[in-house]
Amino acid sequence: MATAEFDVPGKALPSLKDANREISRPITAPSWRFWFLIAICGLGILAGAAAWANQIRNGIGMAGINNPVSWGVYIVTFVFWVGIAHSGTLISAVLYLVRSGWRTTINRAAEAMTIFAVMTAGLFPLIHLGRVWYFYYLVPYPSTRLIWPNFRSPLVWDMFAIGTYFTISLVFWYLGLIPDLAVLRDKFTGLRKRLYGVFALGWQGSVKDWSHYRRLYLYLAGIATPLVLSVHSVVSWDFAMGIVPGWHSTIFAPYFVAGAIFSGIAMVITIMIPMRWAFGLESYITKYHFDNMAKLLLFTSLIVAYAYALEFFLAWWTQDPVEKESFLWRAMGYYTGPFWVMVFCNVVVPMSLWFRKTRNSLAALFVISIFVNIGMWYERFVIIVTSLAHEYEPGGWGIYVPTTTEILILIGSFMWFFFWFLLFSKSLPVISIAEVKEHLAHEHEGGH
């Protein structure tokens, strides 16, 4: 397995020096292309920010959410971005614990994605709040008349779960970066040397230091694994704890976690393919990596498909008329379009990954990953909106349609995410240099 990793036909195995040079090569003064992409992202962010400012000025009525559908695009997009955040930790932590070597060249970028996705997701509860200045009600301190937050509330669990997830992901990412920052410190001169030096915290690669590093890395992987499972479970309980038909289900936690990994892997593929091409990292991120990611995508697609089917089965099995009506309406009512888009993107399209030919074609993988991204956004839309729109009393049924404000903020969130990723890709090594060297050294020395 080890040899397949850096096996590029017609290319010799890179030396450790090559790894240093080639992986840190993108960290130079950016060209006009980079600024062009930054400008596009900037425009998107401005549009989203303007829409949000307008909503703060005129009130939450600028969004389409109202009774009975009081959770709309903002919460849908929040869940979407939290889901995207899951693959980073999965790739870094779970694959580390099970000693899957193929994570080495993709973990850094996936972890960065995690952090930026949580940063994006974190905006949405604030936007959804309307009166954003009251967000501190969730912070655990006696904010009003000595009353503490209600720790029985899933929304407060959410605050703890996502706050912990962001912090631990950041520590995990930064710990992995420290040795690479030392590489950059030693490579550059002048201001850049000093800047990277500050963040490298004086790292000198002493074996004693490595032993502390390795120990903590193992622990972080060990605690991040249950953490990543808990985060999307807690997010799912925002819904499952309510007695809304279509939400109140015990399968929600595993269903959401599988969906999160599915969408996260798709986003990793969407980002990695252009990044690998733009930075010439073909020797490090090989077809072998994409093949593995594609298999993971296929596997999680099957779990998601199973969950979709099971939801309908449970509605029929319980013989609860409200539950049955809710699911029939989901598939054939007003929102039948989003429902079948979801099924097509998440279940039908990924089935092409059964064929090795598809998995080995980067163009096909890129297209499939976009389909999955779209499908997973629609999945959350279907779960959240169709359930609220069609609860118990026919008199309380209603329809929700997103407004321009919500669409602009949605677009802005993508641009905000890509903006951070672009900055990252030009200022930090997108592949873990130290880990790549570890693998290369063992291959050069004939596999220890």
């Binding site: 720790f151 703890f160 030392a182 004693k208 230091d209 502390h212």
Partner: protein, 167 residues
């Protein structure tokens, strides 16, 4: 105090050098590596890191903090919500779980910072920038009066460069 730093190009040679130095009675060693190398830790006789104690203490602190936070605030202002008891342990467990993990990670990180910084001044005179590229370094902190023998030993183990270092 003056020591000797030798540079090596392979993991195998570095390991051999460490083993020979320890056999010759030089236990006060610092070794540099461009990547995590469990083999070298083993050769140096490093069994585990004190970071594990930091992480354990962090985890326990986090768990107790969350238990106190959820239980004491509920007792201090006993208001029944959602029809659940004042001490709703299943609901509070989510908070306890998250805070255990949060504190484990943060304490562990503080431990890494503490232990890596403590040794920094002692070793920085021997650090060479090649150690972050592709070379390993073996630093005998106090060469004592046997510099010649030491140098011969280090070169014999495959050193590509040997220098004296005054700390």
């Amino acid at each position: 105090m003056s020591g000797i730093v030798a540079q090596y190009e392979t993991l195998g040679a570095t390991r051999a050098a460490i083993e020979r130095l320890r056999e010759a009675g030089h236990e006060d060693l610092e070794v540099f590596s461009p990547f995590p190398a469990p083999e070298l830790e083993e050769a140096m006789g490093i069994v585990s890191s004190p970071v594990r104690r930091w992480a354990l203490i962090g985890g326990i602190t986090g768990f107790l903090t969350a238990t106190a936070l959820t239980a004491l605030t509920s007792i201090a202002y006993p208001l029944i919500t959602q029809g659940k008891p004042i001490l709703s342990w299943p609901a509070f467990f989510v908070i306890m779980f998250e805070m255990t993990i949060l504190f484990t990670g943060l304490f562990g990180f503080a431990g890494v910072l503490f232990h890596t910084h403590r040794s920094r001044r002692r070793i920085s005179a021997a650090y060479r920038e090649t150690f972050s590229v592709d070379r390993f370094g073996v630093y005998v902190v106090d060469a004592g009066g046997r510099k010649r023998d030491l140098e011969a030993l280090l070169r014999d183990a495959g050193a590509v460069e040997v220098e004296e270092v005054t700390a």
